[in-house]
């Protein structure tokens, strides 16, 4: 008779920077079922937005997640601009792309560093985070803060980037690209790294689609799904093709993220080359009325904002569906059949952001 054991994983665990609990039902070393428990740090931010003016909510949604804070604010502002029929200046659309892609780079570098750390590759972790620091330094120099930068406002951006600053950004991202080129072979060819990632946690394209998987997780399973393809902000004027891999394992998910850093660098270079001169914000008049849905591709995948205005300064409802919230059910289907030793890497490859999930 098979004997089942239940092993609690988290909420505190060395690979988890934030609290997530999984009840793992085991048969020997093999997982047969996984049940999640969340809610350790739920903050009720959606409710809080109902008590603040719609212009103040930009600062609340930025705090949904530190790592993709810019894109939360961008999604909110895009939705409000849609709702209030505000046409933002072309320059602001390009500025948003530059800052958004810088955020994607630092998010992916953070994740790759954590992954390297999880399988004990300390020097790789440090090399990756050294490059992330360069991105955070750009944030600090351009807007004054390193992580939550508050660059978005409804109607455009709060600040502009000077010509000299754009040249400087271009030089720094070239340096990052050089470093990534040097580090790429470690992820793609190193024996130890491949041993931990290849063939682990396979998710087929059909499974990913059925489970509503988003972001690099879905793209690593062969699904060409990237909200940037809809052309929001200035993406419609930039030349890019989403990164797609087909193996659907932890290795494919890593490859997608490494390649997406290079894609972000190319997008920033294009945006810098094409950015038009002019204003970077327009004044906002009136209050929002009606409903709108805004969608943006964050580093972890698609984020959905639903907003309902009632003609006053206060929103009737703001709803946020973050990418990790969408990817947790996938994790539950991916874990059964895996070995206990692979659980930390498997959880990491969904790039879980509990802060987002517990908004």
């Amino acid at each position: 008779m098979d004997r089942k054991t239940i092993i609690p994983f988290g909420p505190q665990h060395p690979v988890l920077p934030e609290p997530l609990h999984l009840k793992l039902v085991m048969e020997d070393e093999k997982i047969v079922e996984a049940i999640p428990a969340i809610g350790y740090v739920h903050r009720g931010l959606e409710k809080l937005t109902e008590t603040k003016e719609f212009t103040q909510n930009v600062y609340i949604v930025e705090r949904v997640c530190g790592i993709c804070s810019f894109m939360h604010a961008m999604t909110y502002c895009q939705g409000m601009e849609d709702l209030m029929e505000i046409q933002i200046p072309d320059r602001a659309r390009y500025l948003r792309v530059i800052w958004a892609e810088l955020h994607r780079i630092h998010s992916h570098l953070l994740w790759l560093g954590l992954l390297a750390d999880s399988f004990g590759f300390e020097s790789l972790f440090m090399q990756l985070w050294k490059n992330r620091e360069k991105v955070l330094d750009i944030m600090e120099e351009t807007i004054g803060s390193r992580v939550i930068i508050s660059a978005n406002i409804i109607g455009g951006t709060k600040r502009d980037l000077s010509k000299e600053m754009l040249i400087k950004i271009s030089i720094i991202i070239d340096e990052i690209a050089e470093d990534i080129k040097r580090l790429e072979p470690v992820f793609f060819n190193d024996y130890t790294v491949k041993k931990r990632l290849v063939g682990v946690g396979i998710l087929t394209g059909e499974q990913a689609y059925e489970l509503g998987t988003v972001g690099p997780m879905a793209r690593a399973s062969g699904i060409k799904q990237d909200r940037r393809m809809t052309g929001y902000a200035a993406y419609g004027e930039l030349d890019f093709e989403p990164i797609v891999e087909t193996n659907g394992d932890c290795y494919a998910r890593t490859m997608v993220r490494v390649k997406e850093i290079n894609l972000s660098i190319r997008l920033i270079k294009q945006a810098i080359a094409k950015i038009p001169a002019g204003d970077f914000s327009v004044p906002v008049k009136g209050n929002p009325t009606g409903e709108v849905i805004a969608l943006v591709e964050q580093p972890r995948g698609e984020v959905l904002y639903y907003m309902k205005g009632n003609g006053t300064k206060f929103l009737e409802r703001l709803r946020i569906r973050t990418p990790t919230f969408a990817n947790i059910p996938t994790l539950l289907k991916m874990l059964p059949g895996s070995q206990l030793a692979d659980v930390p890497v498997l959880i990491l490859t969904i790039d879980p952001c509990i802060s987002c999930t517990e908004r």
């Binding site: 969340i38 739920h42 959606e46 509503g212 009606g290 409802r317 969408a326 996938t330």
Partner: protein, 125 residues
């Protein structure tokens, strides 16, 4: 203002969700909005080729809604969240946390529902 939004009755929900699955749509999420007159709107969002399709049902608080997790397993977290934060009676969820996914016993019941708040000024009777 929302594109591709269809109003349906709650009895049609499973049928329409089944059709979405059959037609190759991905389940994105569900959004719950307290209307304030004792009813709640639930909007179900589906996606195919980056085009959203939305269905809205309007239900009375406490009225039973069947879970769609038998069709889309991935709806389990959002359905538990709605059940807990808005107090909707969603039944047959694949993993039902019984209203304790996010909240503990000490916390306010259904905190996302609209409530009448009276602010008392100091010194006023």
């Amino acid at each position: 203002m929302i594109k591709n939004l269809t109003e349906i009755s709650k009895d049609m929900l499973l049928n329409e969700t089944g059709k979405m699955k059959y037609n190759g749509y991905r389940f994105v999420t569900a959004t719950c909005v307290d209307i304030g007159d004792g009813t709640v709107d639930v909007i179900y969002h589906f996606d195919k080729d980056l085009e959203l399709k939305n269905f809205r049902i309007n239900v009375k608080r406490g009225e039973e809604i069947k879970s769609i997790t038998k069709i889309y397993f991935c709806a389990l977290l959002v359905e538990n969240e709605i059940k807990e934060l808005f107090g909707l009676n969603i039944t047959d969820i694949a993993i039902d946390y019984g209203g304790r996914m996010l909240l503990s016993d000490e916390e306010l019941q259904n905190p996302m529902l609209k409530r009448q708040i009276t602010i008392e000024q100091k010194g006023e009777e």
